[in-house]
């Protein structure tokens, strides 16, 4: 469809750049961003220790500074939780009150859903059936199977037959074996190909996709019936501006849930609401594995498709989609995707943190636009938060054991750390309930409240370790 609002030049496709070059430049920038303040801090500490100033006083003052910073960071997080609760409630309320319809209209763009099952995938057929029953006027489901799921099983289950499908190879990919279609399920297309990495499978799917929008969907997830409609909504609202729309995959609290599951859910709720201002960017940047997202096919082809299909690629895509120009990156707050099984928390947390670092770096690169300045500061806080907490913990405990810090200061530090963590954790649960995203029963609430205490006191410290590890991985992986 012709867009009269854009100049003709904007349709001209840019030459694809090599992703790793861009990633390396920004990783270097991120490293400097994080390392310079710490180098300055270490130099100041060494100078102070070399001077005549008593070591006890220096360590105590550093501990006080860290305590104040942790408190301020907690206040910032709580303000984001309040903002998130109010904003999310409004959008959920508006969606619940106004029953929406998705008619076959030129305003509703067709979507291709890409699904690459993993070896660990259970109930693949069930997932496919649920994806075929989505409430969306025009979509296709492309399953790229690299041998992870027995193709024969799918052939029988869905009445698939080999077809001679010709498609344009816009992206360079490995070979494929066969393409199957089903008369019974015309929306379904299954591609079998040799074993390869996820990026190659995704690129094969992008080549085959016939729709202008492509939905990336995690294998261990289930979309709600109106999930695709809600996810595509930003593209209908602002078709010329929206570049990405994403939503977080939610974990459900099953009846037989263990306490550790509840702790993970409490942690996710806190992270979701306390990153309110930057949620869209962080969720998308933290990778395909944490969310369900829709990209424009033209953008994906323009950047040369996926190379590793890991966290950071979406950042590069965002960057070259024109971060400094007018565009919209939307995050849908509604619950539209459920995770059937959760990834290991250390992986998720590491990815989240690494994405924060990369976003900070890429944001800094586009610093010409002053409007983004508060965003940088928030990102820096997000980057430094786990480092601050871990550093404070090591310093205070070390200082106490070596007799450099008094017990009063240790108590002050731990009370600040724990009280802010408890408040953040429980406010995440309250915000989720208030914003109408989830309505928990009394027993679930009690379990979550208990889990939030464990999350604040124990899990958070372990999580900080993995988040710092994520930062290092982001910086080192070039």
């Amino acid at each position: 469809m012709l867009n009269l609002g854009l100049s003709q030049q904007e349709y001209v496709l840019k030459q694809p750049q090599h992703l790793s070059q861009v990633s390396f430049r920004y990783r270097l920038l991120a490293g400097l961003l994080l390392l310079v303040p710490f180098l300055l801090f270490c130099i100041a500490l060494l100078l102070a220790l070399a001077s005549e100033y008593p070591a006890t006083k220096i360590v105590s003052e550093v501990a006080i500074v860290l305590t104040v910073l942790i408190f301020l960071r907690g206040v910032l997080s709580l303000s984001q939780v309040v903002h998130s609760a109010i904003k999310t409630r409004r959008s959920v309320l508006s969606r619940l009150a106004n029953k929406f319809t998705m008619a076959r209209s030129p305003k509703v763009p067709p979507v291709s859903i890409l699904f690459c099952p993993k070896e660990t995938q259970q109930n693949c057929e069930e997932t496919l059936r649920s994806l075929l029953a989505l409430d969306y006027p025009e979509y296709e489901l492309i399953v790229v199977n690299d041998g992870s799921v027995p193709t024969e099983k799918l052939l029988v289950e869905f009445g698939l037959e080999p077809v001679n499908k010709v498609f344009k190879r816009s992206l360079m990919t490995g070979s494929i074996h066969d393409i199957y279609a089903s008369k019974k399920y015309p929306k379904l297309l299954v591609v079998s190909k040799p074993r390869s990495n996820l990026a190659d499978s995704l690129n094969v799917g992008i080549n085959l996709a016939r729709s202008p929008l492509i939905c990336f969907f995690e294998d261990e997830c289930v979309l709600t019936r109106d999930g695709l409609s809600l996810l595509a909504k930003p593209f209908i609202e602002y078709p010329n501006l929206t570049v990405i729309s994403a939503a977080t995959a939610e974990m459900s609290l099953a009846e037989d849930a263990e306490l550790f599951d509840a702790v993970k859910i409490a942690s996710r709720k806190r992270l979701f609401h306390s990153s309110s201002f930057l949620r869209a960017l962080l969720c998308i940047a933290s990778g395909l594995r944490n969310s369900v997202s829709i990209f424009r096919k033209a953008d994906l082809i323009r950047v040369g498709g996926f190379q590793e299909a890991v966290m950071g690629e979406a950042v590069s895509l965002l960057l070259r989609s024109g971060l400094a120009e007018e565009h919209r990156v939307s995050h849908v707050a509604d619950v539209l995707c459920w995770k059937l099984s959760s990834a290991r928390p250390e992986v998720e947390l590491g990815q989240w943190q690494a994405s924060a670092v990369l976003m900070a770096a890429t944001g800094l690169a586009a610093a010409r636009d002053i409007r983004l300045l508060p965003g940088y500061l928030l990102l820096l806080v997000e980057c430094y938060a786990p480092i601050l907490e871990l550093l404070g913990l090591v310093l205070v405990l070390g200082g106490f054991l070596t007799g450099l810090i008094g017990s009063e200061l240790v108590l002050l530090f731990f009370m600040t750390l724990i009280s802010m963590a408890l408040l953040e954790s429980v406010s995440g649960i309250v915000a989720d309930e208030f914003s109408l995203r989830h309505q928990h029963t009394v027993s679930e609430t009690l379990l979550l409240v208990f889990a939030s205490i464990i999350e604040a006191v124990l899990y958070r410290q372990v999580a900080n370790y993995y988040r710092v590890k994520g930062i290092l991985e982001a910086l080192l992986k070039a």
Binding site: Q8, T101, A103, S105, N164, F167, E237, L412, H440
Partner: protein, 372 residues
């Protein structure tokens, strides 16, 4: 230092308070949810009995519905929600007794008051309820709510008016849509389509209306032309196509690019009835602006008249690639003669035309092979 400790203790107390409040809230919500489902189940069986005994919705006593609902539940909010739930499950005639009961129980009056004096959420929810219950008596207030300071309330009011189905509200709804985003326009046009009235008169009146700020008037005309194109494609029984074409005719030569493009899109959706209309669209292929030429090329493909082949072939050599692209696509839609024209360009002198024709022919080939 002591002060800091006191402060931290206050923080911990705050945490304890929030935790207890959250648990208490959960208990309350769960109890309410359980009670509501009980009310729903009991009201359902009572309603079934009332409907069966009456035989027809017109013979149902409103007092009986009100009395049975009040007997089942004393909580007015739950009564109201249950009534709305059941109304939305029934068709317009079947739900009439429930809508009358809603009014008899004073909910309409209450909603109108909330819409005028409530906070944003109350106003928003009241507007939505009035729409769902198709309260004709609330049309005036809903018209006022379309000027509400809150965007959500304004949109809820627009949806409510469209849902009520009063054709005299169409101009106000279209005016409101001029500032709406794509999703909002889609939702409202769906409701307008469901109104079951001929919208021609309302649309045409808006196109011919004069006065007001020029930019605003143009925005309204754009929205109306968009809606006409949408209706022509999806519900041509609710629109007089000849009248729509006649209305679009006057804007094809407008000074405004947007208006001209939209008028051509109307012809693409409605088709052309006379040679002069076809000529008009065809002439747009020679417009000085590439945007208009591109829209015209696409429209000629949709109109499907073979007489456009030669002009579209010329458009393959247009300086703007989007025009070339649309012209090639249009030729492909025109059947054999169009495809022959494209094939003739493959070895022509014009490099651009050859490339565009090649691309479209390749796409056609791909589609044909895939189809086979």
């Amino acid at each position: 230092m002591q002060f800091v400790f006191y402060f931290l203790i206050v923080l911990l107390a705050l945490w304890a308070f929030i935790t207890i409040a959250q648990v208490a809230y959960s208990i309350r919500v769960e109890a309410k949810r359980r009670f509501k489902s009980e009310v729903r189940a009991r009201f359902k069986s009572v309603l079934q009995q009332i409907y069966t005994e009456a035989g027809s919705p017109t013979r149902i006593s409103i007092d009986e519905v009100v009395a049975s609902l009040e007997r089942i539940c004393k909580d007015r909010i739950i009564c109201r929600d249950v009534l709305i739930e059941f109304t939305s499950k029934l068709d317009l005639d079947e739900s009439k007794p429930l809508r009358d009961a809603y009014e008899r129980m004073g909910f309409v009056k209450q909603d109108i008051e909330l819409l005028q004096n409530g906070k944003w959420q109350a106003r928003f929810e009241a507007a939505t309820r009035l729409g769902r219950m198709r309260c004709w008596s609330a049309i005036e207030v809903l018209n006022g709510a379309m000027r509400d300071k809150d965007e959500d309330v304004r949109f809820a009011a627009v949806c409510a008016l469209a849902e009520i189905g009063d054709q005299y509200s169409i101009p106000a709804i279209v005016h409101a849509l001029t500032d709406a985003n794509g999703w909002q326009v889609l939702q409202v046009s769906e409701r307008l389509l469901a109104m079951n009235v001929d919208v021609t008169h309302a649309f045409l009146q808006m196109l011919t209306a004069s006065g007001g700020v020029k930019s605003r008037r143009e925005a309204v005309i754009k929205t109306v032309l968009d809606l006409i194109a949408d209706f022509a494609q999806r519900a041509d029984d609710k629109l007089n196509l000849n009248a729509a074409r006649a209305a679009a005719y006057q804007f094809v030569n407008s000074e405004q690019l947007d208006l001209r493009a939209r008028a051509i899109r109307v012809f693409a959706a409605t088709g052309v009835a006379t040679p002069s209309e076809f000529e008009l669209v065809l002439n747009c292929l020679s417009d000085r602006y590439w945007e208009i030429r591109a829209v015209a090329a696409k429209a000629l493909g949709q109109i499907g008249d073979q007489a456009a082949v030669s002009k579209l072939t010329e458009a393959l050599r247009d300086e703007a690639w989007w025009v070339r692209h649309n012209a090639a696509q249009a030729l492909a839609r025109l059947g054999q003669s169009g495809i022959e024209a494209l094939q003739a360009q493959l070895h022509g002198e014009d490099k651009f035309a050859a490339e565009t024709a090649k691309q479209v022919l390749e796409e056609l080939q791909l589609d044909a092979k895939s189809g086979a």
